[in-house]
Structure formats: C-alpha cells, structure tokens
Symmetry: C2
Subunit: 214 residues, 2 copies
DNA sequence: ATATGTGAATTGATTCACAGCG
DNA sequence: CGCTGTGAATCAATTCACATAT
C-alpha cells in the first residue's frame, strides 16, 4: 500500500466521528459532500482519503453510514480494545484517569505509574497506581499497548525510555517536549501550550488563513 | 511575506522551547544542527523555517541563544500578554484553570463561563465563573483575545458562535468536533482522543513511520 | 574553516476533470 | 443522471548543494 499522509489519518478519525453522529441520528446513507461539509474539507479530499484504502461507496448513491463506519473502524484499528496506562499521576494524569467512558472509545485504562511513594498503592479515578519499577511486570501482565505520558517535561525522555523498555510501542505525549524513541515506537504529541502559541502567532498578524492545525 | 506553512509555525514553537531550555542552562550560542537534533528535524529545515522571517545567525558561528529566542518570541507574537477565558467549567475547564504558571507562558486567565447556574458566581482555580449571557461584557471589560472551548461536543458549535459574537478571534478547541467559524477567527484543535485513534492506526499495522503528528 | 542562507531539484499532497458504474 | 473513484496536473513543502559571510 502507498504511504498514507498523516493528514489523511487525522481526517479519517474525523470522518469516523461524523459517521458515528450520523448513525446515532439514524441516518442510513451519506455522501462525500456531506462528510466534506462536516469535516470542513473538500469532497475530492474525502474521496481521495478513502480511496487509499478501498472502494466503499456506490456510484450515484453515496455511502452506507453503517458500512463506511465499520470500514473506518477497521482501517483505524478500532475493532479490538487497546490497553492503556498513565505514566505520571499528577494533575493531568489524574484528570485523564477520571475521563468518563474510556471503554466506549475502545480504550481500556489498566494501570498508572508514579514516582511519588505517597501515591503508589492508591486507587485514583478507577485505576491502581504502581511504582515506576513495576512497569515491566504490569505492562506484561495487562498487555498494555499505549501510555499517556503525563510527567513534567524534564522527566519525559527518561520516562519514555522506561515505557519503551517495558515494551510499549505507542505514546500519547502530553509533555511539552519532543521525545526521542527508537524505530517502531509511535508518538502522538498533545500539547495545548504549543497550540496556544500558534494561536498567538496567527492572531498577531501573519497570513490571513483561518483554519489551522490537524 | 510568503505564506508560512503551518508546520513551520509548529516547529518555531518547538525551537523557542529549546532556546528557552538552552538559556536556562546558560548556553550562549547554538547552531541549526543543535536545534535540529533537539527538535528531531533536519538542520536544513531549521534554517529554512527561520529564513522565512529573516537572517538571525552569523555564518561560521551559528546563532546567539538570547537573540534568536527574542526574535522567535517576537515572530510568534509573545512579546505581549494574551488574555484568555475558559468556556465550559466542567472537569477539563477546571483542570485548565488550575494549570500552574499561566502568566509564565505569556497568557493571563481572566474569566470563565458556564451554563450551570450552580457554578456561576463561584471562584474556581483562581478564576471567576460568569454566566454565558455575560460573555459580551466580560470579553470587552477584560480585553479577552483567546478562549479555551471546553464544552461537550454537541454544545461546541453554539458556544463557538457565542465567543465569536463577543469578539474573540482565537479558539483553542478541546471539544472532539470540527467547529465552523467565520473568516478572521482562528481555531487550534487539541483533541487527545483523536491522537489516541491515530496511535491505534499506526500500531495496528500500516506504514513503518515512527514519528507522527505536529 | 565553519555554519548560515537560499535558489533549484525533488518529493509529497491536494485539486481537478472526467471516466466508470449503478 | 448522480456520485464515486482515480489518473493527471497543480500546488506546496522539504531536501539538497553550494555560494556566502565571518
């Protein structure tokens, strides 16, 4: 398969959310025009994005909402649950542990880790807190696939290395720093302070382009 | 000025963070190679990104850390404070209100809004909670530039329209939906669930590319 | 000698026009 | 006839090579 643009993957996630909304509204069929309107991209773009993965529509009639939704879930790897751990149970880690309906989103929160002995052994937001030294065994025992990295920036690189060492291949990086991981490990940054600074740039002057980001 | 790629703006934010770290470490000079290493991009890319805005280095000697940092802060519009409000004081809104050292990041939290009468009039995480009907006057009174949109997805579009109606031109959108805003208003999405789904895609198979996202 | 700044080449993504199929 | 699917064309971004300045 051709190499898929990362922007395409982001848009597929958006299309899936729109299809879920349509299905909740019991709408049976849709079109690239409708998806494009909702996702705020062109209809060409929608069809091109889908075409990387196959042919899901009916010419002249558009797409079946349940079918296309099922296909997108399959393409995105959301037909099986993913086991998640939180690394760093500070403010943000705790807020994420409290996040409602994780299971509904195909992700299961299995464990959390913190270097503070006062937190280890406690049960916060529905998840047990373990010592950082227990990572290897907990990751193996719960088949953890993905970690939320919610430690302070200066601790992020070392924490990432512990996670990778334990066998984790997916990291959602909330720390405001670029982390360095070996080949085969995937990092998705989630940095609202960076988003805020980009907003400052666009507000302050610069080009007249309104829609930014992924 | 040429139209600046959004990816360049994202990288400038990263370079600025690196320069701040270097300055904290009292390192006086640096080079495109060092910045590239830290930001995990090529040195060509660093120089090209900077070249959109001017010439900041000395051939043969690299860049002065304080000078380049000052220039990047100016380019990104961070030489003046930005006034921020939070729209939606649920879990996430409250967590953001509690976020430490906002001022240190050149952003001042001035007000928050919620539709729940039980929250209005309270003071949460150092910020007053106002009714949604008070947006116009509070935005004018505190010269609010940017809003954090932290309402549920189904309320996001209407909330965004209230913010835009009140004169806000920058929205950091934490709701997992695409919002539609008029020309001249800037939206930066911050959607960790979307990041999680992209991770599922990359983990599940797909191309062997490890570094993703902005 | 060394590291920046930049036009040219390349690679990649988006847009387009229309062929293909129901 | 309508809307999808897709090669070709356009547009944008990145990479490269090297001229340039100190």
């Amino acid at each position: 398969m051709r190499n898929i643009p990362t922007a395409t993957v982001s848009r597929l996630v958006t299309y899936l959310r729109i299809l879920t909304d349509l299905e909740d509204a019991e709408i049976k069929r849709t079109s690239s025009d409708v998806l494009a309107e909702e996702a705020q991209v062109s209809a060409f773009q929608v069809r091109k994005d889908l075409a990387y993965f196959g042919r899901f529509g009916t010419r002249g009639a558009g797409y079946s909402v349940p079918t296309l939704r099922r296909e997108l879930r399959r393409i995105l790897g959301l037909t099986r649950p993913w086991n998640v751990a939180i690394m760093g149970m500070g403010r943000l880690g705790q807020a994420l542990a409290d996040y409602p309906n994780f299971d509904q989103y195909d992700f299961l929160l299995k464990a959390s880790f913190d270097s503070d002995p006062a937190k280890v052994g406690r049960h916060i937001g529905g998840v047990d807190v373990y010592a950082v030294d227990e990572i290897d065994e907990r990751v193996a025992a719960s088949s953890i696939d993905i970690a939320f990295l919610t430690v302070p920036a200066q601790a992020a690189q070392e924490a990432a290395e512990r996670l990778v060492g334990a066998g984790i291949r997916g990291i959602l990086n909330f720390a405001p720093t670029v982390i360095n991981v070996p080949s085969g490990v995937f990092v998705e940054p989630v940095d609202f302070v960076a988003g805020l600074k980009r907003l400052a740039y666009y507000l302050q002057g610069a080009p007249a382009k309104e829609r930014v980001g992924s």
